[in-house]
């Protein structure tokens, strides 16, 4: 999954994609960098996607970083919660590369419209 997301994002022009294997790794990486985009699964052991999202929104650095959450079809409640917590978009597994590419482009452009400045892209799970 991560490899697929990475490949798709790299195809879409994100030059610097960082992977985190789980919620912990993401927590470790997030405070140190600004990112153009975060893609995270909701269902992860220990630190899950919603927690990660809430963590980001509480921090100064990532209060407005675009986040795409990924979940399975039957996790509708979790998805709604994610959107309420401030996710910018969601994708339902399985999704095709085009859907990710399109969504990524949309949320990143929306963000750029608000402010400017480029940084590395990022993948999480």
């Amino acid at each position: 999954m991560r490899a697929f997301v990475r490949a798709t994002l790299e195809d879409s022009g994100f030059a610097d994609v960082t992977e985190a294997a789980n919620g912990f790794e993401a927590l470790r990486l997030l405070p140190r960098e600004r990112y153009d985009l975060v893609v995270t699964d909701i269902n992860m052991p220990d630190i899950h996607g919603l927690e990660l999202l809430s963590f980001m929104r509480k921090s100064d650095v990532h209060a407005t970083t675009p986040v795409i959450i990924v979940s399975t079809e039957n996790a509708q409640r979790d998805r709604e919660r994610g959107m309420a917590l401030g996710a910018n978009a969601y994708l339902t597994k399985p999704f095709d590369p085009e859907a990710l590419r399109e969504t990524a482009r949309r949320v990143v452009e929306a963000r750029r419209a608000e402010e400017s400045g480029a940084g590395p892209g990022r993948v999480d799970k």
Binding site: M1, N22, F24, E25, L27, R28, P31, I42, N43, P45, D46, I47, H48, L50, E51, L52, L53, S54, F55, K58, S59, N74, A75, R77, D78, R81, A84, L85, P94
Partner: protein, 736 residues
């Protein structure tokens, strides 16, 4: 060509990974069933099972195996409903899960993952189970949990929280801070400490208030144990534990260890935290501070005291270090195809041959005085070579070793299924699953063990009604016990069932014309029990679906012998049966004793050799037309290899008439093999005999001792069987 190879490699990788998941799944399902029977619910385990099936589905999807994917998806949906409490975990639900895993197993075993699969019956059962959906009243809003917490819970976490609240388990909030770099190990450690006492529901991370390299976690947990005990277990360092109260009740003061508390008050926290207590009733007279006011300052206080934190952090680090180590060893595992190891072992075998050849050349050089210095030098080099070779060999052998638990886990599933089919209640007791054996042996063990287990349940253990009549516990006991004994591994399959009646076995054997009447009456109790290993022997009047599948105990015995093992039976009428399998630890490379008979060299696996001694002709007697010798007061049957192989009277020159006895023990039986000369010990790699020679009995294979000549390796277990089985037969006939 390379593409096809790649594909099969990838497929194999998939299969072994899927197999691994299925094995873990079966084990976890059995545990889940156990906990359900005991009335406990184990949400973590259920969640693990859900995840494993989810992974399997993903794996199947990745390899385009749609039938497997559909099956996993169906099971995943049921598991999702179960873990979220939408469906109750009933026996029926468990049966569906077991059935599903069984089907996955079958698909993997058949190697046909592509054929369309009909799972409509499974889906129907799931629909039936899923019909009753319990409604949950929203009790969470009664609690002083802000939207900032509730809004971040996943559906599953919310369900767990609600479940605990409904059951009256007190809920706590634990605030901890971890350094960024150590958060995963630190949390693992926290989880390990909490596991026996509490259920951790969620970890809500936020950036450290004081330090940006620190992450604060707000952990919600449910626990029925005494609050002080919980605090003691969880609050290392600056961690802070507080109960979460209902809104209609005044929040309690943030509790800290209260060494100075008046005696009369000390009992209060204990009483309020008894398992059945309603959530968090504050002790009378507790301060009514506002929750927020009470909590925040103490957090700030803790984080702003880096010095106070240091010693505690160090203690935690030590423990974390140990945990990290164990985690790492798991992550460092590599899956290797056994054939690659076989290949390496063969290379080692070839090197061993080189070593022997070098040793022989050294010996030859030594007899030339002018070349003696070369001999000495070569000898020194050969010794170093030998040391490294031994190390290499041990290393590869070690890699091949796997715990017997691998096969025991599969068998647990067989026990469950067989017991259900036979309508018997069985308790399986497994011991020594950590005992290690060569991977190849483990593979070959499942079938024989499966058969023994089915036999024990089907024919050994009585029906629950019958057991009640007999005054035995209704639940039959089936034991799988493994342990190492020298170079061997012993596996006992025991039951506390009806046992075997030697007299009945005797009657059956005569009825079936397997032994002559008079012969049968001379047989010892042990001989009679061993009758079950004869082809076509069965005592059960009705052949059931369970064990009567045309695979008899003779096949079990043959399979065990092929592994160089032996099988023994002990049984007592009314008390039960123990079948003991004794196996060599590895098949790959063995130490052997090289002997000479009538000018021919043979190798005897050292594992089968107990001792070797000079034959003292005065100690030989003849009992019932058969040669025996007295060895330390006991009687040892003798077998002259020369006569066994009908080799004629070849005179071994130079050594006079001295002969040797190699004492071989297998299980409880012993035999003395009479040979002309002992040439010493050597490590050998056994190669199978070619197809045309495979039917020749008495040899397990051939080897090269380094002299470029083929040396046959004696199959001592088989020779022992043949010789001890027939009183009058002399010599081995080659079977067709």
């Amino acid at each position: 060509m390379a593409g096809a190879d790649d594909e099969s490699g990838v497929r194999e990788e998939f299969l072994s990974e899927a197999q691994e998941i299925v094995e873990t799944l079966s084990r976890d399902l059995l545990l889940l069933e156990q906990s359900q029977k005991e009335g406990r619910n184990d949400p973590d385990l259920l969640n693990d099972i859900f995840r494993a099936v989810h992974t399997l589905k993903g794996l199947a999807g990745m390899f385009g195996l749609s039938s497997l994917q559909t099956l996993a998806h169906t099971l995943e949906n049921l598991l999702d409903d179960l873990r979220l409490g939408r469906v109750d975990l009933t026996q029926e639900a468990l049966d569906i899960l077991f059935d599903g895993i069984e089907r996955i197993q079958r698909i993997l075993a058949s190697g046909d993952e592509q054929s369309p699969l009909d799972i409509s019956d499974l889906e129907k059962s799931i629909d039936r189970v899923a019909e009753a959906v319990p409604g949950e009243r929203d009790v969470l809003r009664d609690f002083s949990l802000g939207e900032n917490v509730l809004g971040v819970l996943t559906e599953y976490e919310e369900h767990r929280l609600r479940q605990n609240v409904t059951q009256g388990t007190p809920i706590y909030r634990l605030r901890v801070s971890f350094g960024l770099s150590l958060i995963d190990t630190a949390l693992e450690e926290l989880k390990a400490r909490a596991r026996p006492l509490a259920e951790l529901i969620t970890f809500l991370p936020s950036m450290g208030a004081a330090d940006e390299d620190v992450i604060d976690l707000e952990v919600l947990l449910a626990s029925a144990v005494d609050q002080e005990m919980l605090r003691e277990a969880l609050c290392t360092g600056e961690a802070l534990l507080e109960p979460i109260t209902r809104k209609d009740q005044p929040p309690r003061q943030v509790e800290r260890p209260r060494p100075a508390a008046p005696r009369g008050e000390a009992a209060a926290p204990k009483a309020e935290a008894t398992p059945a207590a309603r959530p968090a009733v504050p002790p009378p007279g507790a301060s009514r501070a506002e929750e927020g006011d009470a909590v925040e300052p103490s957090v700030v206080e803790a984080s702003s005291l880096p010095n106070a934190r240091t010693p505690n952090t160090n203690v935690a680090l030590d423990r974390v270090g140990a945990d990290a180590l164990s985690l790492r060893s798991v992550a460092n595992t590599v899956r290797v195809n056994i054939q690659k190891l076989d290949h390496l072992m063969n290379v080692v075998g070839e090197l061993a041959i080189v070593r022997s050849a070098v040793a022989q050349i050294t010996e030859r050089l030594r007899s030339h005085p002018e070349l003696r210095y070369l001999s000495t030098e070569l000898h020194r080099i050969a010794r170093g070579f030998e040391r490294n070779l031994t190390e290499l060999q041990d290393g590869i052998l070690d890699v091949r070793m796997v715990p017997l638990g691998q096969v025991f886990d599969k068998l647990a599933r067989v026990v469950r299924q067989t017991a259900r089919d036979a309508r018997k209640e069985i308790r399986l007791e497994v011991k020594g699953s950590e005992t290690e054996v060569d991977k190849l042996i483990v593979e070959e063990l499942s079938d024989p063990l499966m058969h023994l287990i089915r036999n024990a349940i089907d024919h050994g253990i009585e029906s629950p009604e019958r057991r009640k009549e007999l005054g035995k516990p209704v639940q039959g006991l089936l034991g799988l016990t493994a342990y190492q004994k020298g170079n061997h591994v012993v596996i006992d399959v025991s039951d506390d069932g009806a046992g075997m009646d030697p007299q009945r076995l005797r009657r059956k054997a005569i009825e079936r014309g397997m032994v002559a009447d008079d012969e049968a009456h001379e047989m010892s109790r042990e001989d009679l029990l061993n009758l079950v290993f004869m082809p076509g022997f069965t005592t059960s009047e009705t052949i059931t679906d369970l064990s009567g599948r045309g695979v008899g105990m003779d096949v079990v015995k043959t399979n065990i012998s092929k592994l160089g093992g032996v099988i023994d039976i002990h049984s007592e009428v009314g008390k039960g049966t123990i079948v003991t399998i004794t196996l060599p630890i590895t098949l790959a490379i063995i130490s052997a004793l090289v002997i000479r008979v009538a000018g021919q060299l043979y190798a005897i696996p050292l594992a089968n050799v107990q001792e070797a001694l000079l034959l003292d002709s005065r100690a030989i007697r003849t009992v019932e037309g058969r040669e025996v010798m007295t060895l330390r007061g006991g009687t040892l049957p003798l077998c002259r290899i020369r006569e066994l192989f009908r080799m004629g009277e070849h005179v071994d020159t130079g050594r006079g008439s001295r002969q040797f006895v190699v004492v071989s023990q297998l299980g409880t039986r012993r035999i003395g093999l009479v040979v002309d000369l002992l040439l010493g010990q050597q490590d050998i790699v056994i190669k199978a005999l070619g197809k045309s020679l495979r039917s020749v009995r008495g040899f397990i294979g051939a080897t090269d001792l380094g002299d470029q000549a083929v040396t046959l390796v004696l199959d001592t277990p088989q020779i022992l069987e043949e010789v001890l089985a027939s009183n009058d037969r002399r010599g081995l006939e080659a079977s067709p």
